[in-house]
Chain length 156, copies 2
Amino acid sequence: MDSSQAFLSALHKWMKVYTHRSISYFSVFAKEHGLSLSQLGALFQIQHKGCFSVSNLGEVLDITPAAASQMLDRLAHQGLIVRSEDPHDRRVKQASLTALGESTLAESFLIHKNWLNALATSLSSEEQLQIITAFDLLSEKTEHLADPQHDVESLS
Amino acid sequence: MDSSQAFLSALHKWMKVYTHRSISYFSVFAKEHGLSLSQLGALFQIQHKGCFSVSNLGEVLDITPAAASQMLDRLAHQGLIVRSEDPHDRRVKQASLTALGESTLAESFLIHKNWLNALATSLSSEEQLQIITAFDLLSEKTEHLADPQHDVESLS
DNA sequence: CAATATATATAAGTATGCTTAACTAATTAG
DNA sequence: CTAATTAGTTAAGCATACTTATATATATTG
């Protein structure tokens, strides 16, 4: 299909632009908060799923359970997550964000604010509405797709 | 303005969804290629600007020139970048991607392929066209805005 | 109940990623 | 031409981020 090709191409171009911007913003943010990019990444994963067992976090980050355990150790030590026993299986520890963890992530998106505001003012109301519709569509569709793990498995 | 608020909200939502996906994909990709997320981030920055002096790379990544020099050392050792003397100022070393560096980054976007294809097939042609228009608009506007460094400076 | 499997944690070891301080080379200013 | 500044590297030191191997607690299975 022709529009699929154009769709992938437009999305790819935007990903390059966005990746470049966000790496720079997240680098500054992480430094300001005494975090590494890896730690910030782990926090995003936990936030998205609500909670994560040690092994499952290791799977999405592609690291061993031992490494995931140590990562959670450091995050817990900084007060960003807590580990609680899973009532269904007492071997399992579920990691979830603390209030501090939540607010830290919320703040991490604010660092993009200047850029996004500049972007907003450079667009007409009509253009903004067009983009809003597009993003709503994308967000909705993405959430209905399978979780990344499945794609990852099918790639290997 | 009302549509600006909705615009920022839609963009924010999409950023959360996309950040979550891309961290997982880039984690897997980095591991497969023996890279860290930090190294991948540095490569993206160099790619975007074409070349980077040691100090300037340090600025966008918010690290000291010494750290940037060491980072480039490791990337050069892996054959992903080369450093060449700036003809205008022989103190300056310009880092740029090698063919291997370029192809590695190109490949890093392919790892999103399964997801993007699934996304594409879940959308009608009409919806795809709407999204294409939106992304073209965004990519174009973003490239005309000032570089991230300026925003960063104004934040501190 | 005993044996096995699973989830996590801990220990030891290595590479990365950062810092500050000291050093070298090139440029700029007086 | 000398002094001061700037760009980059190097060294020492420390925290992070991973690995494998081992240990411990809980679950599952025969």
